[in-house]
C-alpha cells in the first residue's frame, strides 16, 4: 500500500510553480492561494450567509479579545513575584456571590443576539420560495461522480473528475462535463444518492446538502454573476472521496437555453445510433469500450484492469471477464449488492456492448468475443 507510483514529479513541478508563484508572477488563470475566508459570494443567499458568518465571527472576536485582555492583565499584575497579596475574600464579595446570576444573563443576551440574526437568514436559506418558476436540477451522487438531471428539459449530465494533465491547476476541482446553470433565475437542487452518502458543496453558492440514498433533500440558489464556480464532495464517501469535484458554470438565460438544446441533440443522436440495427465490428466496439472504460470503470478497476483488491477486484484475467458473456453483462447491468459496484443500467445497449467487448479482449483477456447491442438488450 505504501508509496504510490503516480505523478510525484508532476506534483513537485506544480509545487515548484506554486512557490515561484508566491514571488508574484500571476498566470493568466490562477487559483486563489492563501485564502483565509469564504470566496466572494455570488448568489443572493450566499451573500446573506457571508454576512451572518462575519457577524458571528465579529462577536466571537470581541469576546475572545475581552477574555485574553482580562487573563493577560491578571497574569501581569496578580503574580507572587510582584508581591501581590492574594485577596482571600474575593469570592465572598457581592461580585462573587451574584456572578452566577449576571454572567449567564449577559451570555444569554449575546446568544439571543446571534440566534436572532441567524434566524432571519435561516428562514430565507432553508425554505425554497415557491412564488416563481424554478429550474429543477436533480443531483445524484454516485461513487465517485455526480449526475445532474435537468428535470424540466429531459437532459442528463454526468460529471467526473479529470486527470492532472487535463485539469492543470484545477486538479481535483475540475470536471469533464460542467453543471451549467442560468443566472438571475431561481434554481432548486434536489439531492439524492445511488449508493452511499455524498454532499454537494459549492462555496461560492454557499450550498451544502447531503445526498442520501432513499432521501430527497433540497436547496436553492439564485446566482447573480456569470462565471465558473468550483466545489467538492463534502461527505466521506469511500476511496475516491477527493475525486468528486463539482464545477458550476453560470451563464445568461439565452446561453443556457442554447446549451440545453445542444444537449438534447447530442442525446437524440446517441439514442438513434444505439437503436441502429446493425452488426458492429470489433475495432469500433473496442475503441468505444476503451474510452468508456477509462472514464467509468478505471477509477476503481484501474486502466490496466488490475483493480485495487480486495475492495475493487481485477478484471484482467477475472473469471467474470473470461467466463460466460451473459453473467458478465448481468454484473454490469445489475451491480453487485453490498459492494461499491453499482448497477450501470443507465448506459445504453451499445455502450454496454462496447464495454463488455473491451473488457473481454483487453489486457490479455483474449476471449475474442464480440458482443452486440442485441445481446445486451436480451439481458435487460
Amino acid at each position: 500500500m505504501l508509496a504510490t507510483k503516480r505523478s510525484l514529479p508532476k506534483y513537485l513541478l506544480a509545487l515548484g510553480a506554486a512557490i515561484a508563484g508566491l514571488g508574484g508572477t500571476a498566470a493568466a488563470e490562477e487559483v486563489q492561494r492563501w485564502g483565509v475566508n469564504f470566496p466572494p459570494p455570488v448568489s443572493t443567499t450566499a451573500q446573506e450567509i457571508y454576512d451572518i458568518h462575519m457577524f458571528t465571527m465579529g462577536i466571537a472576536t470581541v469576546l475572545l479579545v475581552i477574555i485574553f485582555a482580562v487573563v493577560i492583565y491578571s497574569l501581569i499584575v496578580h503574580r507572587k513575584s510582584r508581591g501581590f497579596k492574594p485577596d482571600q475574600q474575593f469570592h465572598e464579595t457581592w461580585f462573587g456571590r451574584w456572578s452566577w446570576v449576571f454572567v449567564p444573563i449577559m451570555v444569554l443576551g449575546v446568544d439571543l443576539t446571534i440566534a436572532g440574526a441567524a434566524q432571519r437568514t435561516l428562514e430565507r436559506v432553508w425554505v425554497v420560495p415557491q412564488d416563481q418558476p424554478l429550474v429543477d436540477v436533480k443531483v445524484i451522487g454516485h461513487q465517485w461522480y455526480w449526475e445532474f438531471v435537468y428535470l424540466d428539459h429531459d437532459v442528463t449530465i454526468e460529471s467526473r473528475y479529470t486527470s492532472p494533465e487535463e485539469a492543470g491547476i484545477h486538479y481535483l476541482r475540475d470536471v469533464d462535463n460542467r453543471l451549467v446553470l442560468p443566472t438571475n433565475q431561481r434554481v432548486r437542487f434536489l439531492h439524492t444518492s445511488s449508493d452511499v452518502i455524498h454532499a454537494f458543496w459549492v462555496p461560492e453558492l454557499a450550498v451544502k446538502k447531503d445526498a442520501i440514498p432513499g432521501y430527497i433533500t433540497e436547496t436553492w440558489v439564485n446566482i447573480q454573476q456569470e462565471g465558473v464556480f468550483r466545489g467538492q464532495c463534502a461527505e466521506l464517501c469511500g476511496t475516491w472521496h477527493a475525486r468528486m469535484p463539482i464545477v458550476v458554470e453560470a451563464v445568461s438565460q439565452e446561453e443556457f437555453d442554447g446549451w440545453i438544446e445542444e444537449q438534447q441533440e447530442i442525446r437524440m443522436a446517441a439514442l438513434a445510433e444505439a437503436a441502429e440495427e446493425r452488426e458492429w465490428d470489433k475495432d469500433d466496439l473496442m475503441a468505444r469500450g476503451q474510452s468508456l472504460y477509462n472514464s467509468r470503470c478505471a477509477a476503481c478497476h484501474q486502466e490496466d484492469g488490475s483493480g485495487m483488491p480486495p475492495a475493487f477486484p481485477a478484471i484482467k484475467g477475472s473469471p467474470v471477464a473470461t467466463g460466460p458473456i451473459s453473467e458478465h453483462i448481468g454484473i454490469i447491468l445489475n451491480g453487485v449488492p453490498g459492494t461499491a459496484m453499482a448497477a450501470w443500467n443507465s448506459l445504453n445497449d451499445l455502450e454496454i456492448a462496447a464495454l463488455v467487448t473491451y473488457q473481454r479482449n483487453a489486457w490479455g483477456n483474449d476471449t475474442g468475443d464480440v458482443v452486440q447491442p442485441a445481446e445486451v438488450k436480451a439481458e435487460r
Binding site: 505504501l2 504510490t4 503516480r6 509545487l15 506554486a18 487559483v31 492561494r33 492563501w34 485564502g35 469564504f38 450567509i49 458568518h53 458571528t56 465571527m57 475572545l64 477574555i67 487573563v71 491578571s74 497574569l75 496578580h78 485577596d87 474575593f90 469570592h91 456572578s99 452566577w100 454572567v103 449567564p104 451570555v107 444569554l108 446568544d111 441567524a118 437568514t121 435561516l122 436559506v125 432553508w126 484545477h170 486538479y171 481535483l172 476541482r173 452511499v196 452518502i197 458543496w201 450550498v207 451544502k208 447531503d210 442520501i212 432513499g214 432521501y215 433533500t217 467538492q232 466521506l236 464517501c237 469511500g238 476511496t239 475516491w240 472521496h241 477527493a242 480486495p310 475492495a311 453490498g338
Partner: protein, 533 residues
C-alpha cells in the same frame, strides 16, 4: 513476637504482592489507576503515529505516502484510538487514583469490578488495532474507510474489519460503563463521615457528572452499532433505504451518544483545573457551587443538541431552529466555568509551575475553540463550515486544550504525589512551550483551509490549499515530537528526583495532600476528620 502484634502490624505492612500478580489481580485503586494511565500513554503514541502519517500525506498535494483507503483507515483509527484508547482511559486513571484520596475512602467501592473494567481494555485495544490491520492479511477484506462516525451505507460496504471494530467498541463501552458505575457508587457511598456532597472537590463532581453521562449514552452507541452489525450480516434493513430503512437514523443514534461523548472527554479535565487554579493562585476557588451547577447544566444540555452534527441531512426548519438555539445556549454554562476560572486567578498571587501554565493555556485556547463552536452552531453559516477543515480545527481546539491538556496538567500536578518525586520543572516548561506553540501552528491554519473551501477527510487536495497545509504539517511534526519529551520527563520522575513533601505544592488544599508522597499502598483505612465550615 506474639500473634497479636503480627495481626496488628499486618495492616501497616500489608504491601502489594510482588511481580505480575500485583498488576493482574490488583484490586487496589492506585495500581489500577497507574495501569490506566500507562495504557493511555501507549495509546497516545499509537494514535499520534497515525496523525503523523496523515499530516505527512497532507504536507503537499498529490498522493505520496499512502493510498486513499489507507489514509481513511488512519484517520478513523486516529480518532478512535485517541478518544477510546487515550483520553477516556487517562481520565479514568486520574479518577481511580484521586477520587478515593480526595474523598477519604480506603479504595473504590467495587474493587474487583475495578480490576475487570481495566483488564477489558487491553483486549478491546487489541481488537481495535486488529480492525485496522486485518485488511493487510490475505482474505482480510477492505479497510475501514468511514471515519470514526461509521455512517452507513458506507460502513456496510467495508469488509470484516468493520466487525472487529464493532466488537472492539462494544468491549470499550462495557469497560467504560463498569468504571462509571464504580465511580458513582464510590462517590455516593464512600465519602469520609461528614464530607457533604457540596463540599466535594470539583474534580470529583466533574467525574460524577461524566459517569452519569457515560451510563446514559454508551448503551445507545452499543444499540446503534449492533443494528449496524445486523444490517451487515443478518439481513435486517435498519439503515438500508432499499429495504425500508433509514441511513439518517444511524446518525441520530450515533450523535445522541457522540455529542455527550465530547463532554465526557472534557468535563474530567475541566475538573482538574479547579484543583490546580487555587493552588497556584493562592486563594480559594471562585464559584464552587456554580461550577457544580454549570457542569450539570452542560451534561443536561449536551444530551439534547445532538443533531447539530447533521445540519445538512435535510431536517425541517423547526428542527434546525431548535438545535441551533439549544446549541448556542451551551455557551452559558461553559462561559460560567471559564468566568469562574478567570476570577479564581484574579487578585491571586500567581506562580507559574507547569500545571498552572497548562491551565492558563487551556482557559485561552479552549475559549477560542468554544467560540468557533458558537459559529458552527449557526445553521446558515454551518452550510459553509460543515465537513470542512474548519470543523477539524474547531474540535482540535476544543479537545486538545479541553481534554488532553487538562490531563497533562493533572499529571504534572499529581505526579509528585504518585511517585514521591518532583518532576524536572525546566524540562516540563520546555515541553509546555514546544507543545502549545506547535499546537497553534498545526491547527490555526486549518481554520483558513476550511473557510477557503477544503473539505475534511481528503487524502489529496488542489494546489490552492498547499501553503496552509504545509505550515500545519510542519507544526504537527514538532507537536508530535514534543511528546517524546513528555515521556522522558515521566520516566525520569518515576526513577528519581527531588523528594516530594506530602503537600507537594506550597498552597495545595485537599485530602490528597494529607497522605504521604508517594502514599502507602492502602490509605485512609481510618477515615479523616472533616472540619465543618
Amino acid at each position: 513476637m506474639t500473634t497479636a502484634t503480627v495481626a496488628h502490624d499486618d495492616h501497616a505492612h500489608h504491601g502489594p504482592p510482588s511481580g505480575i500478580k500485583r498488576w493482574l489481580f490488583s484490586t487496589n485503586h492506585k495500581d489500577i489507576g497507574t495501569m490506566y494511565l500507562v495504557f493511555a500513554l501507549i495509546m497516545l503514541f499509537l494514535g499520534g503515529a497515525s496523525a503523523m502519517v496523515i499530516r505527512a500525506e497532507l504536507f503537499m498535494p498529490g498522493l505520496q505516502l499512502v493510498q486513499p483507503d489507507l489514509y481513511n483507515n488512519l484517520l478513523t483509527n486516529h480518532a478512535l484510538i485517541m478518544i477510546f484508547g487515550a483520553v477516556m482511559p487517562a481520565a479514568a486513571g486520574l479518577a481511580n487514583w484521586m477520587i478515593p484520596l480526595m474523598i477519604g475512602a480506603p479504595d473504590m467501592a467495587l474493587p474487583r469490578m475495578n480490576n475487570l473494567s481495566f483488564w477489558i481494555l487491553p483486549a478491546a485495544a487489541l481488537m481495535l488495532i486488529l480492525s485496522f490491520i486485518v485488511p493487510f492479511f490475505p482474505g482480510g477484506g477492505s479497510q475501514i474507510n468511514t471515519g470514526w462516525t461509521l455512517y452507513p451505507p458506507l460502513s456496510l460496504q467495508v469488509g470484516m474489519s468493520m466487525d472487529f471494530l464493532i466488537f472492539a467498541l462494544h468491549l470499550l463501552g462495557i469497560s467504560s460503563v463498569l468504571a462509571s458505575i464504580n465511580i458513582i457508587v464510590t462517590i455516593f457511598n464512600m465519602r469520609a463521615p461528614g464530607l457533604r456532597m457540596m463540599q466535594l472537590p470539583i474534580f470529583v463532581w466533574a467525574w460524577l457528572v461524566t459517569a452519569f453521562l457515560l451510563v446514559l449514552v454508551v448503551p445507545v452507541l452499543a444499540a446503534g452499532i449492533t443494528m449496524l452489525l445486523f444490517d451487515r450480516h443478518f439481513g435486517t434493513s435498519f439503515f438500508i433505504a432499499a429495504g425500508g430503512g433509514d441511513p439518517v437514523l444511524f446518525q441520530h443514534i450515533f450523535w445522541f451518544f457522540g455529542h455527550p461523548e465530547v463532554y465526557i472527554l472534557i468535563l474530567p479535565s475541566l475538573g482538574v483545573l479547579a484543583s490546580i487554579l487555587p493552588t497556584f493562585s493562592r486563594k480559594p476557588l471562585f464559584g464552587h457551587h456554580s461550577l457544580i451547577g454549570a457542569m450539570i447544566a452542560i451534561a443536561a444540555l449536551g444530551m439534547i443538541v445532538w443533531a447539530h452534527h447533521q445540519y445538512t441531512v435535510g431536517m425541517s426548519l423547526a428542527a434546525v431552529q431548535y438545535f441551533m438555539l439549544m446549541t448556542i445556549l451551551i455557551s452559558i454554562p461553559v462561559g460560567l466555568i471559564i468566568f469562574n476560572y478567570m476570577m479564581t486567578m484574579w487578585r491571586g498571587a500567581m506562580t507559574f509551575e507547569t500545571p498552572m501554565l497548562f491551565t492558563v493555556a487551556i482557559i485561552l485556547m479552549f475559549s477560542f475553540g468554544g467560540l468557533t463552536g458558537v459559529m458552527l452552531a449557526v445553521v446558515p453559516a454551518d452550510m459553509q463550515y460543515h465537513d470542512s477543515m474548519f470543523v477539524v480545527a474547531h474540535f482540535h481546539y476544543v479537545l486538545l486544550p479541553g481534554a488532553v491538556w487538562g490531563l497533562f496538567a493533572g499529571v504534572f500536578y499529581w505526579l509528585p504525589k504518585w511517585t514521591g518525586h518532583m518532576y524536572d520543572e525546566r524540562l516540563a516548561k520546555t515541553f509546555f512551550w514546544v507543545h502549545v506553540v506547535s499546537f497553534n501552528i498545526t491547527f490555526f491554519p486549518q481554520h483558513f483551509l476550511g473557510l477557503a473551501g477544503m473539505p475534511r477527510r481528503i487524502a489529496d487536495y488542489n494546489i490552492m490549499f498547499t501553503e496552509f497545509n504545509m505550515i500545519s504539517s510542519v507544526g504537527a511534526f514538532f507537536f508530535g515530537l514534543s511528546h517524546l519529551l513528555f515521556l522522558y520527563i515521566i520516566i525520569k520522575t518515576v526513577r528519581g528526583g527531588e523528594k516530594a513533601k506530602a503537600r507537594a505544592w506550597e498552597h495545595a488544599e485537599g485530602l490528597e495532600w494529607e497522605v504521604d508522597s508517594p502514599p502507602a499502598h492502602h490509605t485512609w483505612t481510618t477515615p479523616p476528620k472533616i472540619k465543618t465550615a
